[in-house]
């Protein structure tokens, strides 16, 4: 049976994530140990804009649905911009 609707999906989705394997650092995650998301990241992984460059401008909705333009919202302030995995898992 394929999950074709959100109701069917309801039955299936937890199989995908409700099992955790523990790694040697003492972390659980909804993916097996050895999966790229669990392993160390490659040392040559890209790290985006270089020091000395202007951060590329962008607009995205915030938690309240307001569209925030990064540089406009920052105004004349210094800022820290964090890229993280997820607030959920």
């Amino acid at each position: 049976m394929l999950p074709v609707s959100i109701q069917d999906f309801d039955e299936l989705w937890h199989i995908a994530v409700m099992k955790a394997e523990r790694d040697e650092l003492g972390f659980d995650a909804p993916a097996p140990v050895g999966h790229p998301v669990r392993a160390s990241l490659p040392s040559d992984a890209p790290t985006g804009p270089a020091i000395g460059n202007r951060l590329p401008d962008f607009s995205l909705p915030d938690a309240f649905g307001r569209v925030i333009n990064f540089h406009e919202d920052r105004g004349q302030s210094k800022a820290a911009l964090v890229f993280y995995r997820s607030a959920v898992w």
Partner: protein
């Protein structure tokens, strides 16, 4: 981050955190966890791609995992120019917020309440403090053991390299199993040329902060079990030689000891994370997780079966290997 928001505000630094979570998830996270900084919702990973940060080790086969960035932080100045950035070798490691503030301000500011130990001899005061957070250790968060020298006028200490016969400043941190230390971070040295001996030296004088980043791993603190010891002892062995331009004191080693608290980890309130004795979220993250997966696989629900299948295969493989 949450606890350090006031410090960012006081320093005049705006804080933004961007992920591929939907707006509803972020709204709940902000409300229930008391987040005051700006959470940005990049559901289709458009900005993550624009910044060239999409984790390409993952693919659509990885279902809901696909779309996350390589994790890291940019610190920019008033003009929006990158002045510092921190990228991590794992999703489970990141800087203390204080390290971002220090990067933005260009100097280390240690909390008055940070655990510290001090030694004053020969007119040289040395302080060792655990910098970051509330001065406690948390799994996956990098703190700094900062050794501060207060050198009287005219005295200096040495950075590497030193000519034979002189001792460069060395710091060794000794702690319990599971405490990982990283290479020391130091301010630039000043070149000093001694005419009489015709030698070039690299020196620090005045007040000098030498920082050793450190973090605990699973043996010490784990999100998967309650903390068994509330406090650990860390010893800092500081070797140095103080000199004027004419004479030198003998090289010496001072040892300072700190009692450091271990802190619980905030874990998302998902069944796989809960019930391990750590600090669980103030709300159930399961609906958000479900929404995330549905959003990621609804165009091709087979992806979810494929994900489960791949996982089973990897589990079998790791069992065989283990």
């Amino acid at each position: 981050m949450r606890d350090a928001f006031d410090k960012f505000e006081a320093a005049g630094i705006k804080l933004y955190a961007l992920s591929y979570d939907d707006q509803e998830t972020l709204a709940e996270f902000a409300q229930k966890q008391g987040v005051q900084y700006t959470l940005l919702s990049d559901t289709d990973s458009r900005v993550i791609k624009q910044y060239g940060l999409l984790n390409e080790q993952l693919s659509k086969k990885d279902a809901f995992l696909f779309g996350i960035p390589y994790p890291g932080v940019f610190v920019c100045d008033e003009d929006g120019t990158v002045i510092s950035k921190f990228f991590h070798d794992s999703y489970k490691k990141r800087e203390s917020p204080e390290m971002l503030i220090d990067a933005a301000l260009g100097h280390i500011t240690i909390d008055e309440t940070a655990p510290r130990a001090e030694s004053s001899e020969d007119g040289i005061r040395i302080t060792a403090a655990l910098h970051g957070g509330n001065g406690s250790l948390r799994q996956g968060i990098v703190r700094q053991l900062v050794t501060t020298f207060d050198l009287p006028e005219g005295l200096h200490i040495y950075g590497e390299p030193v000519p034979q016969g002189l001792t460069a400043t060395k710091i060794r941190v000794e702690g319990p199993d599971g405490l990982v230390t990283l290479p020391m971070e130091v301010p630039p040295t000043t070149p000093l040329h001694l005419e009489a001996l015709n030698i070039d030296l690299n020196v620090w004088s005045g007040t000098v902060d030498l920082a050793i980043p450190l973090y605990p791993v699973g043996e010490l603190v784990s999100e998967c079990r309650p903390i068994d010891e509330r406090e650990v002892e860390i010893s800092v062995h500081i070797t140095f030689q103080a000199c004027t331009d004419e004479t030198c004191l003998l090289p010496q080693t001072r040892t300072l000891s700190l009692r450091i608290e271990l802190e619980e980890v905030d874990v998302p309130n998902l069944p796989i994370h809960t019930g391990h004795g750590q600090r669980e979220g103030n709300y159930d993250s399961t609906p958000a997780m479900k929404r995330l997966i549905w959003r990621k696989v609804r165009k091709n629900p087979l992806r979810l079966l494929q994900f489960i299948w791949n996982r089973k295969r990897m589990e079998r493989r790791s069992k065989r290997a283990g």
